[in-house]
């Protein structure tokens, strides 16, 4: 860093803060992809590794909080930077939740080892891909500080919601057809719900990026039709 001239220590701290949030994001993205891969391959070893790796995301979040407290003290007179610092804090919290959902998916893998031939299981990888795409896109808007792209990301969450709604119906039918399927189907439903929540959180990241860049809250986002009539 010595070659970059005139760098103030607070600038450096903000960059470092953003870097930590991006690292958390990278870990969460990998956890989501790996958890779904572990599920489709019934790989209990890799699932256990994902559960363990979540500690790193938690540790990074604690580090982000520590730095934010220090930065707020230093930059109290800079509203633009404060906004970015707060957004980083909130995004870190959201990404930590994403990591938890991925961990939860991984934890269910050993319980599903025996569940072969459940058709809705084939839809989950497609839903997971749609979810990872939106998480990746949301973290890209954070890296690029791109408010316009953030609006597009927030709107694209409807795709994940649509997947969830169709899986919800498919799994219900499956449970009704054969009571033996209920345990596995219930786990799969939770997994689908976890992915759906990850998608929602990706939207939250995009909203935070928008707030940090513009100073305004993003308007009501367009949603897919909700399974629950009163929303979540």
């Amino acid at each position: 860093m010595a070659t970059v001239p005139n760098i103030r220590s607070a600038d450096f701290d903000l960059a470092e803060l953003r870097r930590l949030v991006a690292e958390m994001g990278g870990l969460a993205e990998a956890a989501i992809d790996d958890a779904v891969a572990a599920l489709t391959h019934r790989d209990t070893e890799s699932a256990a590794a994902i559960v363990k790796a979540d500690q790193r995301i938690d540790a990074l979040e604690a580090e982000v909080e520590r730095r934010v407290v220090r930065l707020i003290g230093l930059r109290a007179d800079q509203p633009d930077e404060l906004r970015e610092i707060l957004a980083a804090l909130k995004i870190a919290g959201v990404v930590e939740r994403m990591g938890d959902y991925a961990k939860n998916i991984a934890k269910r893998v050993p319980l599903l080892v025996e569940a072969r031939g459940i058709e809705p299981l084939a839809i989950l990888p497609a839903m997971a891909r749609a979810t990872s795409e939106i998480v990746h896109a949301a973290l890209d808007t954070f890296a690029a500080r791109d408010a316009e792209a953030a609006v597009r990301v927030a709107q694209s969450d409807a795709r994940v919601d649509d997947f969830y709604n169709s899986l919800f119906r498919a799994l219900l039918t499956y449970m009704m057809e054969n009571p033996h399927n209920i345990t596995a189907s219930a786990h799969l439903l939770f997994i689908a719900k976890n992915l759906e929540r990850i998608g929602d959180h990706a939207t939250n990241v995009a909203e935070m990026v928008y707030f940090a860049a513009t100073g305004e809250q993003m308007g009501e986002r367009t949603r897919g039709i909700d399974t629950l009539t009163d929303g979540n």
């Binding site: 070659t3 870097r19 991006a22 990278g26 992809d33 890296a143």
Partner: protein, 342 residues
């Protein structure tokens, strides 16, 4: 050195130099992106210049590689299109600067997938007749005496048929690999296409499946082309064979050869149900079948058009398949004539 007045430092030329590569390249100092070439800006976004690279490439392995010893490589997915596979390579350049290369391995990954698909398909195709053979052999072992002579003959007939199907499949696989092996070698001998078509069609008639349905239209004078006569003969057998097998029963199959500018045009037209539009682009894939049951019933191996495609490619020709459902299919092969190859 003669143009001492125009010394341009490498430093000034760097952006243009980096842009000239179509592989994403990033020059980083510490972790900050000093320069990203056009390909890298397209992949990661224009914001990366001046930013910490770990913001854009967040894969844990990449972060580990960048933060660690300073050089090495890592396999990454999910940059840009989630289906693409990248290798990130980091090399030191001087004290704190490093060059990051992103190498696209998506095609290799796709080729690997196709190869495993092919092995799986070929094994499946070979196992099916084998299972039939073994089933009948077991039944025959249990059969006894002269009373079962009629059944025995029928079973032996089926077994013979299945064994021949396996033989055809293995022959086709072998000729496919031979044609692929000489893919880059242009045929040397000069042959008369008119007589090759005439001989091949006579062989097909003699084989008994044509039943007088072939209608040949050949030019009066020889039509010379640099071609491999056995491969061209195989091409005619495969295309005309398909037309006879899938055309309407009793319907004519027209085989026309004509000179067309600098090339020779071979047309094979049948009257039949035709092929629906969705299947056309995939017809030359190995083991692709429009109607799997029917193809096996008429003794197809699933490799005929794949072989045709490879033969046409080796001869630097062009293969077109046009079809109207309910009317028929028309296969045209354009081969360059002798003069043009010279």
């Amino acid at each position: 050195m003669a143009h001492a007045g125009k010394i341009v430092t490498v430093e000034e030329d760097m952006p243009a130099l980096l842009d000239a590569f179509d592989m994403p390249l990033l020059l980083i100092d510490g972790f900050t992106v000093e320069r990203a070439n056009a390909a890298a800006r397209r992949l990661l976004g224009t914001y990366v210049e001046g930013e910490d690279l770990r913001l854009a490439i967040r894969h844990p392995d990449a972060t580990g590689l960048l933060s660690g010893s300073g050089e090495g490589s890592a396999q990454l997915g999910g940059l840009g299109d989630p289906e693409r596979r990248w290798e990130m390579e980091v090399r030191p350049l001087g004290q704190s600067r490093r060059l990051v290369r992103l190498i696209d391995h998506s095609q290799a990954a796709a080729a690997e997938r196709m190869r495993t698909d092919f092995v799986a398909n070929a094994s499946h195709e070979l196992r099916t007749p084998l299972a039939t053979l073994m089933g009948f052999i077991e039944t025959l072992e249990e059969a006894n005496g002269t009373n079962d002579a009629a059944i025995r003959m029928r079973f032996l007939g089926i077994m013979g048929g299945e064994a021949r199907r396996m033989q055809r499949l293995i022959d086709d696989l072998m000729s496919l690999s031979r044609i692929e092996a000489d893919r880059y070698v242009r045929p040397r001998e000069s042959i008369d296409l008119a007589s090759t078509v005439r001989v091949a069609c006579a062989e097909i008639e003699a084989g008994g499946i044509a039943g007088g349905r072939l209608r040949l239209t050949l030019p009066d004078s020889p039509l010379l082309a640099r071609a491999d006569s056995s491969q061209i003969s195989q091409l005619i057998h495969n295309i005309v064979g398909n037309a006879l097998k899938y055309g309407r029963e009793g319907g004519e199959v027209k085989v026309t050869l004509q000179a067309d500018d600098g090339s020779a045009l071979l047309l094979v037209e049948d009257e039949g149900e035709g092929i629906s539009r969705d299947h056309l682009p995939r017809l030359t894939e190995r083991f692709y079948r429009v109607d799997a049951g029917r193809s096996r019933a008429v003794g197809g191996t699933g490799l005929g058009l794949a072989i045709v495609k490879h033969i046409v490619e080796r001869h630097r020709g062009r293969l077109d398949i046009a079809s109207t459902p309910g009317i028929g299919t028309r296969v045209s092969v354009v081969l360059p004539r002798d003069a043009e190859i010279l």
